[in-house]
């Protein structure tokens, strides 16, 4: 190895720009263990036969019993509510946040910092504090829109803002949205068609990532639903866990698996292109 090569390598190590392969595997291993221990523990717990010891599939099989729908009715209601909330929350992101971000990016770039600040705020506010503020708001919401569970999506629309904003903004930054929209307009497309045929196809990754992250956040939300006395997946899980902890853990695992699938889908979307590799 030449002196220059050695100096370059030493420089890279000193600056911390490129950890060695061993360091990378150690980091990956530690993080993997931290994440996998509770999941493996949950799986093992869901297979436990009881205090006597041993393992069984009975708890998993009980989900398919004839009276499962009755026994776990509250849980299925929670799942239904969470899925409904996920859909409405994604709708809020797509109908309110996405057009606002595109509009700011194209027409009011000076407002970008303001919008970013507003969207990041929810991540700095603890859920319990958010609920204290939302409680009086929801007394009004209930009067106007009724007490249906879907109204919780207004609060969730706020909690997912930082994640959805970041996903969409990184896509907006990666695409020359201004030139593409101007090209579309010079080719006789009005704003609606520019949005539909030019911008959205190029923002697909960001929009899908924002949607999937929103779904993952909504499926895992407990505090707001609990304190506003609504039933969702997490509150129902808590309730079930008091009577049948095995089933609660099984549903928690299934929810985790769904969240993993969503996040993996985002990763795949990030890699998939419509055609061959970049030149």
């Amino acid at each position: 190895m030449s002196a220059v090569d050695r100096a370059t390598r030493l420089g890279a190590v000193r600056l911390g720009t490129e950890p060695s392969g061993i360091v990378r595997w150690i980091i990956l291993g530690v993080v993997g263990v931290v994440f996998s221990i509770p999941i493996v523990a949950m799986i093992l717990f869901s297979l436990k036969a009881g205090l006597a010891g041993g393992y069984t599939l009975d708890h998993w099989a009980s989900l398919f019993d004839d009276d499962a729908a009755r026994v776990y009715r509250n849980l299925f209601t929670g799942i239904g509510n969470s899925l409904l909330l996920a859909v409405v929350t994604v709708g809020i992101v797509l109908v309110v946040l996405l057009p606002t971000m595109i509009l700011v990016h194209l027409q009011f770039p000076r407002l970008r910092r303001v919008l970013e600040f507003i969207c990041i705020i929810p991540i700095t506010v603890p859920a319990i504090v958010l609920v204290v503020g939302l409680a009086p708001v929801y007394s009004v919401v209930v009067r106007i829109a009724g007490g249906s569970v879907w109204t919780l999506a207004f609060a969730y629309g706020i909690t997912v803002l930082p994640y959805a904003y970041r996903a969409i903004q990184s896509n907006l930054d990666a695409v020359d949205v201004v030139t593409l929209s101007e090209a579309g307009r010079t080719l006789s497309a009005d704003w609606g068609r520019v949005l539909l045929f030019v911008l959205l196809p190029n923002l697909k990754r960001g929009v899908l990532a924002a949607s999937f992250i929103s779904v993952a956040v909504v499926l895992g939300e407990f505090t707001i639903a609990s304190l506003l006395n609504r039933v969702n997946l997490q509150t129902a899980l808590l309730q079930v866990s008091q009577s049948n902890p095995y089933v609660a853990v099984i549903f928690a695992l299934l929810a985790l698996a769904l969240a993993f699938v969503l996040l993996l889908s985002i990763g795949r979307l990030g890699r998939t292109r419509r055609t061959g590799s970049e030149s």
């Binding site: 030139t179 101007e182 090209a183 307009r185 080719l187 497309a189 196809p201 055609t275």
Partner: protein
């Protein structure tokens, strides 16, 4: 609302371009005036270049013409109709941008078809027309590719085909060659000129490259600080610049101290005809072109002694910079076989060509 702009075929129809007129167009950004009352008339089928330094307002003028920028006052007429308040998508224009603007999620043929699709042209018809447009720019075999699979020059060719396939009344080119390498740039500018001439389309070409503007345009408008300083054929601009800015900006000039004496400029004892408006007697800088200076022998009448400062090989000729006795620098283009060394002394002779002059403080 359905767009009813005409969609002509790609068959050559010389003279089918529109008359374009800018009347007193003013555009400001806050306190900065980007366009200070631009007046410009373009004949059908004419190829006009807007030339000027960065920030002179040439791109703003083009964007105002396209509708991508609104104007504060004035009129923009296409075939006599004021389109100043008409949105971009209804102006029937084609535009090629400086940055590659192909839609990355579409194939080349889908990109070219886009404008026809927006104008609700039947699918079979638009496929044939898009293929014809791609053939026109020499990319008929690349229809199934995506933008990222093309070189920069090919992408701009596709952008040109996409802009022309609808046969717009006016073609706007916003520095379309600036991101390309030198050889491709020259090739593509010739191609653009040939195609626009064949189609007879009125074309506005924005560039800061004077060589590019002079090479392709029927007329060139030289802009500075939101105004058109001069508009004319490339020959007129070069031979008879209206003012020192144009003389300095178009072509290469050396600023040599001299004195106005009536209708002539006296430079190192040589009396050269003054270009443009008469100026009061007094000190000026004479703006002398390299081709108006020649190497001479010591005994030639009016020979000026000078020393070589630098010399560059330019292929078919050589450009050498000399320092005159008063310290000013003058560029000379001469035969490549003359190879002066830095520090050499030589003699120069000024040709009796008219020169522009700009004021000089004593």
């Amino acid at each position: 609302m359905t767009l009813t702009a005409p969609t002509r075929t790609m068959t050559a129809e010389p003279g089918s371009g529109a008359t374009v007129e800018l009347r007193g167009v003013v555009k400001s950004y806050g306190s900065m005036q980007a366009l200070s009352g631009i007046d410009l008339v373009m004949e059908p089928g004419e190829f006009i270049a807007l030339l000027g330094p960065s920030g002179c307002g040439k791109t703003t003028a083009l964007r105002a013409l396209s509708g991508l920028e609104t104007i504060d006052s004035g009129s923009i007429l296409i075939d006599g109709v004021d389109v100043a308040s008409t949105p971009t998508n209804k102006r029937d224009i084609g535009m090629v941008f400086q940055s590659y603007s192909l839609f990355p999620h579409m194939t080349v043929i889908e990109n070219v078809e886009f404008g026809l699709r927006m104008r609700k042209v039947a699918k079979a018809d638009r496929g044939a027309r898009a293929a014809e447009a791609l053939e026109m720019v020499g990319l008929g075999a690349h229809g199934a590719r995506f933008a990222h699979q093309l070189s920069g020059g090919q992408q701009q060719r596709v952008a040109l085909a996409r802009a022309l396939v609808t046969r717009p009344r006016v073609l706007l080119l916003d520095e379309p060659l600036s991101a390309l390498d030198a050889k491709v740039r020259v090739q593509l500018r010739e191609e653009i000129r040939r195609i626009t001439r064949d189609l007879g389309i009125t074309t506005v070409f924005v560039t800061h490259d004077q060589e590019e503007a002079l090479a392709v345009a029927d007329r060139v408008a030289v802009m500075r600080a939101g105004r058109i300083e001069q508009i004319g054929t490339p020959r007129e601009l070069y031979a008879t610049p209206a003012n020192p800015f144009v003389a300095d900006f178009v072509g290469l000039t050396s600023r040599i101290p001299g004195e106005i004496d009536g209708e002539v400029v006296v430079v190192h004892g040589i009396r050269l005809p003054l270009l443009g408006e008469p100026q009061p007697d007094g000190p000026v800088f004479a703006l002398i072109r390299p081709e108006d200076v020649a190497l001479a022998t010591a005994d030639a009448p009016g020979a000026i002694a000078a020393s070589v400062v630098s010399s560059s090989f330019l292929g078919s000729l050589r450009r050498t910079e000399f320092a005159l006795p008063d310290g000013s620098l003058i560029a000379v283009q001469h035969d490549v076989n003359d190879q002066p060394e830095v520090g050499d002394t030589a003699f120069l002779r000024l040709r009796m060509a008219p020169v522009a002059a700009s004021a000089r403080q004593q």
